[in-house]
């Protein structure tokens, strides 16, 4: 197949610390021959100097000095490889609880999660947390890899126990598509090549799954949403009256001639052109970046949204959100924050903390007065100006917000609108 025409799959790793995520990614890259000789030489060299008797493939992704010293992942590493079937963007995320926010960073743009479980340890609290976060983020596909099978004598029984444990937990999560594979990331069993040690496993390898999982558009093609990033006004003699609205389509299909409505003004107009670099586009859909011009002179600016006249998003100053809290500084109700949603920014106030979720039982804990780092909770937020949103389950772009600390400007929360 022509390289230019292959699909892109973005996936993330998840699971507890030391379950073998980085080793697995190293193995995947190595066995698919995506490692260059100089990279491999460097990794062999540092494994040797650390006194290991095998090549530590996790060094291929654990690129920071402190990660290499401690043998853990601290922040997401992005790696890339392509096979004749697909092109992959991998986010290898840390398992350590302290760095959960970096896991959320890597997972927020993924359409598939590989969840690792150490066969000796089974499901741990971080396995629960990561699986739950993956489901909250609505990552549509999950592959659960039971790793380090070499350390449990490739036992089918151990594998089956963990699979059923995971299933009883995940039945409450609502991840649609879950596959299970017994692997050894260290030795490569069932990663790219079939294992010779586990005859009892009839399923396919991890690579086969990655290449064939059905990822037809995960984008919303029904509800037209075009948040405006900026207005293009050339101020040149030949383009004196040009007013283009620059942005990326977040949902639906737009065509020249469509009747559209501008929010918040409510003005109605017709799409004159959709273009990029002067080339005309007949149909625009997510995730295309385009420039749109309208038939009428409408005063739109950054943060406004162009939608279809008869299909508008929710418009409100009150948001109900599920958040993952990312700051070491706890938050309480009545705290002022900055809310970023699509290309819009608004002052906001955390009005109420409704409940947080016990990560092991998934039960709600009510009557809380603060959120601590890594808590997952539901809160209500009041914004200073109206937000045009869809529920996160309907649209990952128009349904997500980030919460920013007004003083430090740090991103302190990731929110999914209910």
């Amino acid at each position: 197949m022509d390289y230019q025409d292959i699909e892109l799959l973005r996936f993330t790793t998840a699971g507890s610390v030391d379950d073998g995520k980085s080793t697995l990614i190293g193995r995947l890259l190595y066995d698919s021959k995506s490692i260059f000789q100089d990279q491999l030489d460097a990794v062999e060299e540092s494994s040797k100097s650390k006194g290991f008797d095998y090549v530590d493939l996790s060094l291929l992704t654990d690129g920071l000095k402190s990660e290499r010293e401690q043998g853990i992942t601290i922040d997401v590493a992005y790696r890339y490889f392509a096979t004749p079937k697909r092109k992959f963007i991998i986010a290898d995320t840390p398992g350590h609880i302290q760095y959960t926010r970096n896991m959320v960073t890597g997972a927020s743009t993924a359409n598939l999660a590989i969840i690792l479980i150490d066969a000796r340890k089974g499901m741990l609290e971080q396995t629960h947390r990561h699986a739950f976060i993956a489901s909250l983020l609505r990552i549509p596909h999950a592959i659960v890899c039971i790793n380090k099978m070499d350390l449990v004598d490739y036992s089918e029984e151990t594998y089956n126990t963990i699979v059923s444990d995971f299933k009883s937990f995940s039945s409450k999560l609502g991840i649609k598509d879950i596959q299970f594979i017994p692997i050894s990331a260290l030795n490569g069993d069932n990663v790219v090549n079939r294992s010779e040690n586990m005859d009892w496993y009839q399923g396919s390898t991890l690579m086969y799954h990655l290449e064939t999982v059905h990822i037809s558009s995960d984008h919303n093609l029904v509800d037209c949403r075009f948040p405006i990033q900026s207005v293009i006004r050339p101020h040149t003699l030949e383009n004196q009256d040009y007013r283009g609205f620059a942005g990326r389509i977040d949902g639906g299909v737009f065509k020249p001639g469509d009747k559209v409505k501008s929010l918040p003004s409510g003005f109605v107009s017709t799409i004159k052109t959709i273009e990029l670099n002067g080339e005309q586009i007949s149909e625009a859909f997510a995730p295309m970046s385009v420039t749109m011009t309208l038939e009428d002179e409408i005063d739109n600016s950054r943060g406004d949204m162009i939608v279809r006249e008869n299909n508008v998003p929710e418009i409100s100053q009150d948001l109900e959100v599920l958040v993952t809290w990312m700051s070491t500084k706890p938050i309480q109700a009545r705290t002022k924050v900055v809310i970023k949603h699509t290309t819009n920014e608004s002052i906001g106030m955390v009005k109420e903390l409704k409940y947080k979720i016990d990560i092991n039982t998934l039960h709600r804990i009510e009557g809380i007065d603060r959120l601590e780092m890594n808590d997952i909770a539901r809160m209500s937020i009041r914004t200073a100006k109206p937000v045009f949103y869809d529920a996160y389950k309907k649209n990952r772009q128009t349904g997500s917000i980030i919460i920013i600390d007004e003083q430090t400007n740090e991103t302190i929360g990731a929110g999914m609108i209910i």
Binding site: F36, Y78, L221, H235, A246, P287, T291, T343
Partner: protein, 301 residues
């Protein structure tokens, strides 16, 4: 419905344009760091597409080490002229003359890390609050860790252990006085993506990237162009070779590859079968295992 998918090059293009437009919208004084290499040429091309028919609304900044390939400078000046954008040159020689930077000595001396001084000086002088660059995550293991919007403290430093979370496509460019951002719109592109896209879009490149004859010196297995900036060591000799470059940095540190690939198709074929990374020939990365991370923490590109 299955018609409504775009191929991966278009998806990468769209992502990069989105990020470039965010930079223009979120910052007051953004600049594009233009090295003259293929990645910054690609970035400039994407910036042009992002704002067409308007001109690119920010200047290009070139940190001139004085050790550039003459081809790079000629290409830069032509491009700036064609696009009608402003060019700011930060000179390493000037930083040295002013005593702000100190030249390395010895046969392997390089001005690579001196660029940090001139870059940070330029950022301060022009009150730059966002400097976008063409760095890609697949280039190097420390770069694989970088966010799209990468926060720098008031000393221009990167703190890789404590980066801001970056969720969905919601880029947080808020900062305190004196701090700035480095932004990398083509983070997710691989070397192959870059070449495929250059071919698709017919983007002009300096002749250095295509096979040509050149007088070279082979040092520690790296093929370096012979130039006034290189001091020959004992036993080293100048040989005429058929080469091309995969990346373009300074003359004395950028390694060439022996290659007959004189057009884009041949280059793409060559990359598909090559067994070393493009920065494999960069002497600046070979100084220590974490050479890139160390420089980046101080404010390198």
């Amino acid at each position: 419905m299955s018609n409504y998918v775009i191929n991966h090059l278009k998806e990468l293009e769209s992502e990069a344009i989105f990020v470039i437009r965010e930079i223009a919208a979120q910052f007051e004084n953004p600049v594009l760091l233009f090295s003259g290499g293929k990645d910054s040429i690609l970035l400039t091309h994407l910036a042009k597409k992002a704002f067409f028919p308007a001109k690119i609304p920010f200047p290009l900044v070139h940190i001139d080490t004085g050790h550039n390939f003459p081809e790079t400078i000629a290409f830069r000046d032509q491009l700036v002229e064609k696009l009608g954008v402003k060019l700011i040159v930060g000179s390493v020689q000037e930083s040295i003359d002013k005593g702000r930077a100190k030249e390395e000595t010895g046969a392997d001396a390089s001005r690579n890390s001196l660029q940090i001084v001139s870059l940070l000086d330029a950022i301060e002088e022009y009150k730059v609050d966002a400097a976008m660059g063409g760095a890609r995550r697949d280039e190097e293991k420390a770069r694989a860790k970088e966010r799209f919007f990468s926060h720098r403290d008031e000393f221009g430093q990167w703190d890789p252990k404590n980066q801001r979370p970056e969720l969905w496509n919601l880029f947080n460019g808020r900062k305190n006085y004196g701090e700035h951002f480095r932004v990398f719109p083509i983070s997710n592109w691989t070397e192959m993506d870059v070449w495929e896209y250059i071919k698709l879009e017919n983007i002009d490149l300096p002749s250095l990237y295509f096979s040509h004859q050149r007088d070279c010196v082979v040092r520690d297995g790296v093929i370096l162009a012979n130039s006034e900036f290189i001091k020959l060591k004992e036993n080293e000799e100048v040989v005429n070779m058929t080469i091309r470059y995969r990346t373009c940095g300074d003359m004395p540190i950028t390694g060439a590859v022996e290659s007959e690939a004189d057009n884009l198709d041949k280059i793409i074929e060559e990359i598909a079968t090559t067994r070393t990374t493009e920065r494999g020939g960069r002497a600046d990365d070979k100084r220590a295992e974490t050479a890139m991370e160390d420089r980046k923490k101080q404010g390198y590109f």
